[in-house]
Subunit: 353 residues, 2 copies
């Protein structure tokens, strides 16, 4: 989006005025006029001067006018520069957020739980809709695996993943003649595959397993496939939404059709996942304003997302969706809070039993 140079066309004064306009509009949701800026904000200028600057800003595309002789409203481009250059993260509320969080958090041991609680928290703080998407486990390793007989002609492969999640898969397999070797095979598999990622299960390892177990290759292969399946199945995501109805409180959604269109997107799992996955591409905090979003249905909304990860592994994303006229300062700050919180919680949660 846009070359950074284009910001340079705005001098200090225009910047200050733009910030005042966006601040005011975010707060009042009414087109803001020159007089308001002159009076409420400490720019030492008369309304006439501000009027001129506003005309300039409109010409440059940072503002627009709903109708002639109304006040000005920020455009997407206006919000963009506001987000990129005119706000900073406000940590002053963090201690309050901590208090709120303590109130929720009773006994939470699992990462998924804390993510849910944080999603709820941020939805309450911001009064917008929030989402969290968590990979069930990305890039998981085999911690242990076993093949278990179930009934005639069927066995179950059980894989214990790196984070103690268990996956299993049932196979039709004829082991009747070699029931005792199944136990032996389990041990071999367990020994050979422990610590492996899905991509780490090479043909060489499979060959070793075949040799050491003395079992037939065509019996081993479906089992190994099942194990790989279990690892990959873990790539699935878990989606959690909070405060969908919050959107209805904001004047931009008083129009039922608009509200319906947006709520349909909010309820559409696939779309939301797609939106959140987009965030991971950049990493860190990401803001998508109005038309920058890939879906027309929410071209009057903005999305702010934060991806959380361990050193190298992407674990998931938390995001907030609200009208383009959202309180970016608050949303970005609180999402930064969430991000910090997660970075500090993740190591703790992941180790625990």
């Amino acid at each position: 989006m846009g070359d950074d140079m284009s910001y340079e066309e705005l001098d200090q004064r225009k910047m200050r005025i733009l910030k005042a306009i966006v601040d005011d509009y975010i707060q009042s949701m009414e087109p803001v006029g020159s007089r308001t800026i002159a009076k409420k904000y400490e720019v030492g200028l008369s309304s006439a001067t501000i009027r001129n600057e506003m005309a300039d800003l409109e010409e440059m595309g940072y503002l627009s006018q709903p109708y002639s002789s109304a006040g000005r409203v920020p455009s997407d481009k206006g919000y963009r520069i506001y987000v990129d250059r005119l706000i900073e993260i406000d940590e002053s509320k963090f201690s309050e957020y901590n208090r709120l969080l303590n109130y929720y958090e009773q006994e939470i041991n699992e990462l998924g739980q804390i993510v849910k609680v944080l999603t709820k928290l941020i939805s309450n703080i911001t009064q917008y809709t929030s989402f969290s998407m968590k990979y069930k486990t990305k890039n998981s390793i085999v911690k242990a695996c076993q093949v278990v007989p179930i009934e005639k002609g069927r066995a179950m492969v059980v894989v214990l993943l790196g984070n103690d999640l268990v996956r299993n898969k049932i196979l039709n397999i004829d082991y009747s003649k070699e029931l005792d070797t199944l136990v032996k095979l389990s041990n071999i598999l367990d020994r050979k595959l422990a610590g492996c990622r899905a991509e780490g299960i090479s043909v060489i390892i499979v060959n070793e397993i075949v040799r050491e177990s003395g079992m037939d290759r065509h019996l081993i292969l479906p089992i190994v496939d099942a194990i790989i399946d279990c690892l990959q199945q873990a790539e699935e995501v878990e989606l959690y939404t909070e405060g969908a109805s919050n959107l209805l409180m904001h004047p931009e959604f008083f129009d039922v059709n608009r509200a319906k269109t947006v709520l349909e997107v909010v309820h559409d799992t696939d779309t939301v996942v797609q939106l959140l996955k987009k965030s991971a591409e950049t990493g860190g905090l990401m803001v998508r304003i109005g038309q920058e979003n890939d879906f027309d249905e929410i071209s009057d909304c903005s999305i702010v997302t934060a991806t959380f990860r361990t050193n190298d592994v992407e674990l998931g994303t938390i995001g907030v969706l609200g009208p383009t006229r959202m309180d970016y300062q608050k949303v970005i700050s609180s999402l930064e809070y969430i991000r910090k919180k997660l970075n500090q919680e993740i190591p703790r949660r992941l180790e625990g039993s």
Copy 2:
């Protein structure tokens, strides 16, 4: 609700008029006047007569008037008698529903999947919000179970439930001295417990297991506990919601506050589960109209639910939520369709691999 006798106060003619009024109001959502009834519906009566009857019906509590000199609107009591006595299930659309269903249904093997599809179907048919709640498995039996070693000091109990769902639980247990007996124990457990329900695991059976395995009682007990846990864990429900935003299309929710209040309930998992569970109490089809609902927030909504089950076991519930002025004919008929469909699908789905 209410003694059946109370219906008797309504003669044939009042019934016909009431039905006409409710039908018309459901369709038009406008208070319906005597003239409308006289003209559009084939009661051979003048508007004046109908006016008198309407005054009676209002006095008896079946109708009410939004303001003096407006038409009449059905009250909860009016809807109740309408539902109980004046509509019948309309099977004529069933073949159309079948067509729609074929369109969705691609390759669905699991009961949970077909329930989801049916939930989506009914939400599309009715244009209201629909829910399904499925017990992960209620009253499940052990089909097979195994104890699997994982790593030093830890083992995993794996239980295959009656419907091929797998549950597992990790235990800290010291089996190091008796690793070979673990395999033996697995076999004994499997043999002894196959077919058992949670309540069916008696002390006698446990004693037998202890005796036959020759293992220590304090080693066996936590394992059995884990198996029972797995069975009971299966009592959890899975909730699925479809078409929440459909509600916004109906005039009664054009008011944002009303919409918000109702949507909050729709999004509140616990409340919805509670609502759906209520349905099972009666079994079959159940209609709760307006104030009959336990939650004030939806006292201007109605809920129609259908519970599906095998012979004796309750499997879950599908429900529809809409404004009190909902198209009961359509909702009840299509829900009946769903119920039939499930009754015919359930045996198939449950057996299949």
